[in-house]
């Protein structure tokens, strides 16, 4: 059925069997990668205890690995990587600016409040 009542790019999003094979290959590849990352995370968490001296390193590697995972999910599984460049920026840039700023300011304030509470305790 021909649709002319709305403009929606995804209506044209059909692809051939060959292209499908290629896409599925990519999906499986990313799945294996995400599994590996998860295994590494669980392994690190199980082997290294929180009192260990290299714990801060482990902690930040958790942060980095999680961001890597999130990046793959958003870019490949959620197809943000296939969008046009500027749409990509419109989605990502405000999010990063606001969230990073919010994390920074909320934690900074929390530390200040804790300081005041400790002072008067």
């Amino acid at each position: 059925m021909e649709r002319d009542d709305l403009i929606e790019y995804s209506l044209d999003a059909h692809h051939s069997e060959d292209k499908g094979l290629e896409i599925r290959k990519k999906i499986y590849k990313v799945t294996i990668l995400l599994t590996l990352i998860t295994v590494v995370e669980v392994f690190l968490g199980a082997v290294i205890k929180q009192d260990a001296s290299i714990w801060p390193f482990v902690k930040w590697s958790f942060v980095a690995l999680t961001l890597l995972k999130a990046g793959y999910i958003v870019m490949v599984f959620m197809h943000l990587g296939d969008e046009r460049k500027w749409l990509r920026y419109v989605i990502l840039v405000p999010y990063f600016i606001f969230i990073l700023y919010l994390i920074f300011i909320a934690l900074w304030e929390a530390v200040a409040i804790k300081g005041v509470l400790t002072l008067f305790h």
Binding site: S10, L11, L34, F77, I91, I103, L107
Partner: protein, 326 residues
Amino acid sequence: MMWFFLVSDALTFGGLLISYGFTRHDCLESWPIGEETFNSLPFLGHGYPLLYVALMTFILIISSVTMVLAVEAGHRMDRKGVTKWMIATIIGGFFFVGSQAWEWYHFIHGSEFGKVELADGSMAIVKGHFGEVQNFTVIEAGSHYKKNQVIKEDLMHTFQHAAAAGHIKNGIITLHDGSKAQVNKAKDHELKLIVKKSGRVHKASKEKRVITGKEAETLYYEALYSGEANRVIYGANLKQNEYGPQQYAQFFFFITGFHGFHVFSGVVINIIICLGVVAGTYHKRGHYEMVEKNWFVLALCRPCLGLCIYILLPHIISAHGTRRFN
């Protein structure tokens, strides 16, 4: 348009998690550590810190994969493929929601030891193997139980209730009918107290907070058998919890509840669309756009959130906090 919905949704969750971080940062030492709170696995018991959380997150990632495969099959107009992968996604979703119910049950129910307020006013959580409560031997008759009667039913429940209400004094429990009974309990093993809030003697500082051995046992039972109400707290509700500050349980319930609702509604929509796929509605339309739209709704915060609340955020925050305080 879907992307703008996603961004707003991500910001909602971002706001929730950051407010969690703010509160956690406010009371750094007393905040529970994920490894101390979530350490059980179904059928295997305790001693597996955060493993189940990792598993749950992984289930979500896998159900993202099955959903993206359903979308791909839709682009090839492969109805059978779409159905297959959507059913897999629905199963994954139910698995996650079920796991969450299990986790909530454990969180609300709490541990066998609970959290105790020690004699000096400090608060400590307790780890170790709880010695079973074997029976109560009545030593003073009440309106229901007779002297020398041995009670063997509902022991743990009665024991915890009485301990929290301050009805156990020096190993003698006062039952609800007014009778008094001797508590016969097996010995605990590897009892360990972790001080979470400093008192006059015991401090929550990193070096000194763990108390073990005979001292731990004495302190614990001194509090448990003090005969005072509220010296021990079991499990969690919106008023108090055994894990840490009151806000901890409130954040846990709200954020994971909100996320669970998100996943559950996603699964319901998934089922409806799956029925449409089976009935051939989308095939007749000539495109599987609905599947794709729904995928977007589902995909977003699913895999990321579990990680955030249990691991990522606590880690970022404690990294930040440690730097500034020690």
